[in-house]
Structure formats: structure tokens, C-alpha cells
């Protein structure tokens, strides 16, 4: 039911992710003493930006070729279709990022014991990014103002995720208990999983009728 994508499209956010992470030591400072504490944050910021970048494509092509009209006229409830699309988006964006994050974290001299926590935080966090992003993408899809308007809408909602996600890794680095933060992230995930598909479906209907 999901649109098949080219394998290449899958690689794109990943490539961006890798590049954004590697830009950081280049642009700022390549020293270990500097990189190690910043690393988890950098990986998080980069995956957030990578997700953001890929959002624009989520519904845009569908809108331009008229698939979106067909989608809203399909007999299934729209939010289910949206959920399926978001899930596909996460599979092609979030999941590869998670799988690649340990490699990049190592390049930034993250302590090996923290890799697990970092991946866990991403595992809970990235679906939220996809879900919230879908709302932004749905709201902006009719507008030709370029994908960056999405950033404006979506980034404020991403910030809590970012704070909890990096907070989790930082607590772990400080040797503290991070389950409370994890629970918080989990709660955000549950919340957005129940609400975001409806919001995105509503936004899509509005965008289509314009």
C-alpha cells in the first residue's frame, strides 16, 4: 500500500546525517576533549535536521501529481493512510539513522559505554520526529514556499524531544539514572502516536481543499 521508493531515496537523509555530523568537527574543532562531551548532542541535532529535510518530500510529490486527492477520496479513513505513510517515513529515515549513529558517535570520540543509551534515545525519539513532522508537512503541502516553512512550524515542537533525548545521554554520561527521562520521551511518543495522525489527516484535508 505504501508507495515504493527507490533505494536511493532511502540513502539520502542518511547521507545528510553523516555529512552534518562530519561538518561539525571540521567547522568547530577536531579535538577530542571538545568533541566527546558535545557528541551526543551533535548526533541528535543532526538527526533532527536530517528528518526535517526529508519531511518536505513526505506529501509534496503526492500533492503535485494529484495522488493526495485520490488519497483523501479513498474509502479507508485518512488517518490510517497517514499513519502508514509516517511509518514508512520512519523506516526509511529514522531507523537508518539509529543504525548508523554508533559509527558516527565513535568518530566523535563518544565513550563506548554510552552508545547504547544514545541509540535507545534515538529509537524512542525519532518516531516522534516523524509523527510531528507529518503534521507540518501536511499543513504546508499546498504552499509553494519551499520546504523550509516546515522547519518554522515543526522545530518548536521538536525542541522538547531534543532536550529529553540529549538529556538522557547526558545523565547516563554523568552516571545518573536516566529512566525518568526515558519515561518522559516514551510518554511523548505515546501522545504523538495517538494525536499526530489525526492532526495530520485534518491538515491534509485542508490543504487539498485549497
Amino acid at each position: 500500500m505504501l508507495a515504493f521508493r527507490r533505494p536511493q531515496e532511502l540513502a539520502n537523509p542518511l547521507v545528510f546525517f553523516v555529512m552534518a555530523v562530519s561538518l561539525f568537527p571540521l567547522g568547530v574543532s577536531p579535538e577530542k576533549s571538545f568533541l566527546a562531551p558535545a557528541a551526543a548532542g551533535v548526533v541528535w541535532v543532526a538527526s533532527l535536521l536530517a528528518t526535517l529535510l526529508s519531511l518536505d518530500a513526505l506529501f509534496r510529490a503526492d500533492h503535485e501529481d494529484g495522488s493526495l486527492e485520490q488519497l483523501t477520496l479513498a474509502p479507508q479513513p485518512l488517518f490510517i493512510l497517514v499513519l502508514a505513510k509516517v511509518f514508512a517515513h520512519w523506516l526509511t529515515t529514522g531507523l537508518p539513522l539509529i543504525l548508523l549513529s554508533p559509527v558516527l558517535a565513535l568518530m566523535l570520540h563518544v565513550d563506548e559505554s554510552l552508545l547504547g543509551v544514545l541509540m535507545l534515545s534515538l529509537l524512542v525519539g525519532t518516531p516522534v520526529l516523524s509523527l510531528i513532522g507529518a503534521i507540518g508537512a501536511a499543513l504546508t503541502v499546498g504552499l509553494r514556499v519551499g520546504g523550509v516553512l516546515i522547519s518554522l512550524l515543526v522545530l518548536p515542537l521538536y525542541i522538547p524531544v531534543l532536550i529529553f533525548g540529549t538529556g538522557m545521554v547526558q545523565s547516563a554520561a554523568a552516571g545518573m539514572d536516566y529512566t525518568a527521562t526515558l519515561a518522559m520521551l516514551g510518554a511523548i511518543l505515546a501522545l504523538s502516536l495517538t494525536l499526530a495522525p489525526f492532526a495530520a489527516a485534518a491538515a491534509l484535508k485542508i490543504s487539498v481543499s485549497n
Binding site: 495522488s67 486527492e69 477520496l73 479513498a74 474509502p75 481543499s209
Partner: protein, 211 residues
């Protein structure tokens, strides 16, 4: 109105866009077996009317009924009985005609591969089933969308400029298909700037200043 409840009934539709009133007090009904052509010059509001009927544009005034029920209640049934083809057809440029048809069917009817292949052949895409649509000509892309008509069992077809970019043979074939549909008890609402050559009666709804 006959004793039978009409498939779709519109009452007192009105539409204005940017302060221009496109139509007012438009009422009509569509029965099984009808072919209804919406006519009017460019910008008369044909596309807008079709979108209103399908619920793609918000209905600001007037009422719609599906098999006698208010549209707001009957929307799920309506959607599963509707096939809409707009100016833009929803054919994905990267997918092949077959994949496109399959993806479309997956959300609607249960159609097996053979019927899909047969439909593509009927619309003249034999040999192109596996080429991505962006390497097809304009007319072939439209045909890839028209293949849906050949697998659809929806009782109501709403077609906006379905003849665009189709060659003469294709147009004749499509006209035959529409008539067949109507004879089988379906209903077709369409717009076109071609002159229709349909055997049998075509009801016309005129919008805007006659041209």
C-alpha cells in the same frame, strides 16, 4: 425526479471565489444510467463544481445527498462508490503504470493482476507496463490513469477533462466505455471541451456565460 431515489442530488449549490459568484442556486440530481456533462467556458467553475461534489472543496452553501442521505452522514458509502479523476491524475512519475494501478487498487477494489494487465492493454499501454511513467508521453500518462476506469466497479464516475491529451482513437474508445457504464446502471459526471459523440442521451449542465 422519478420515484427512485437519485444517486447523487445537489440542492441550491452556490460557489464564489474571490468575490466572483460562479454559480448560484444550482440544483440537479444524477440517476443511475445518466451521463451528465458540465459545460461552460474556461473559468466557469466546472472543476470547482466537481470538487464540491466529491468533497474536495468545502461546501459553503447548499446541500448534497447520496442515495437520499445527507452527504455528511453518507460520506463513507459515498467514497467507496466514487471514482474521481481530476486535472491531475495521481499517477506517480517514478512508478510504472502497473505499479500505479496496483497502488490505486490497493486502497479500493480487490482486483487481480490479470485484470490490471488487461486494463493496461485496453488503454494501449501494452509493452509499457514496466516503464516508469515519467518516460511515457503526456497521453500515455493520462491513459495510465484511465486504466482505473477499466477495473473500477464504482457506480459513480466523476471525470474532469478526461479526454485531455488523448488521441482520437482513444477518445472514441473512452466514449464507448462511458456509454457502456451508463447502460450498466452507473452514472458519469464529466467535463470536457471536446464535443462528445456519445450514442444515447447526455444531460448537460451549463455553467457561466454560454460561449
Amino acid at each position: 425526479m422519478t420515484g427512485q431515489t437519485p444517486l447523487l442530488e445537489a440542492k441550491n449549490l452556490q460557489c464564489e471565489r474571490d468575490d466572483r459568484i460562479l454559480f448560484e442556486n444550482l440544483s440537479f440530481s444524477v440517476d443511475p444510467g445518466d451521463v451528465v456533462q458540465i459545460e461552460g467556458p474556461n473559468g466557469a467553475g466546472k472543476t470547482t463544481l466537481l470538487k464540491l461534489l466529491c468533497g474536495l472543496a468545502p461546501l459553503r452553501q447548499g446541500e448534497l445527498f447520496w442515495r437520499g442521505e445527507r452527504m455528511s452522514q453518507a460520506r463513507p458509502q459515498f467514497l467507496s462508490s466514487l471514482l474521481y479523476l481530476g486535472h491531475k491524475t495521481g499517477v506517480k512519475a517514478l512508478l510504472t503504470p502497473l505499479e500505479n494501478l496496483r497502488a490505486w487498487c490497493a486502497q479500493r477494489e480487490d482486483v487481480n493482476e490479470e485484470r490490471m494487465m488487461a486494463a493496461l492493454e485496453t488503454v494501449g499501454l501494452a509493452g509499457y507496463e514496466y516503464s516508469p511513467c515519467n518516460s511515457l508521453s503526456a497521453g500515455q500518462q493520462r491513459r495510465a490513469a484511465l486504466a482505473r476506469l477499466h477495473v473500477s466497479s464504482a457506480p459513480l464516475w466523476v471525470l474532469d477533462e478526461a479526454f485531455t491529451a488523448i488521441d482520437k482513437k482513444g477518445v472514441a474508445q473512452l466514449e464507448a466505455l462511458l456509454r457502456e457504464k451508463a447502460n450498466a446502471g452507473g452514472a458519469v459526471i464529466l467535463t470536457t471541451h471536446h464535443s462528445l459523440h456519445l450514442s444515447g442521451e447526455v444531460r448537460r449542465i451549463q455553467l457561466g456565460a454560454a460561449s
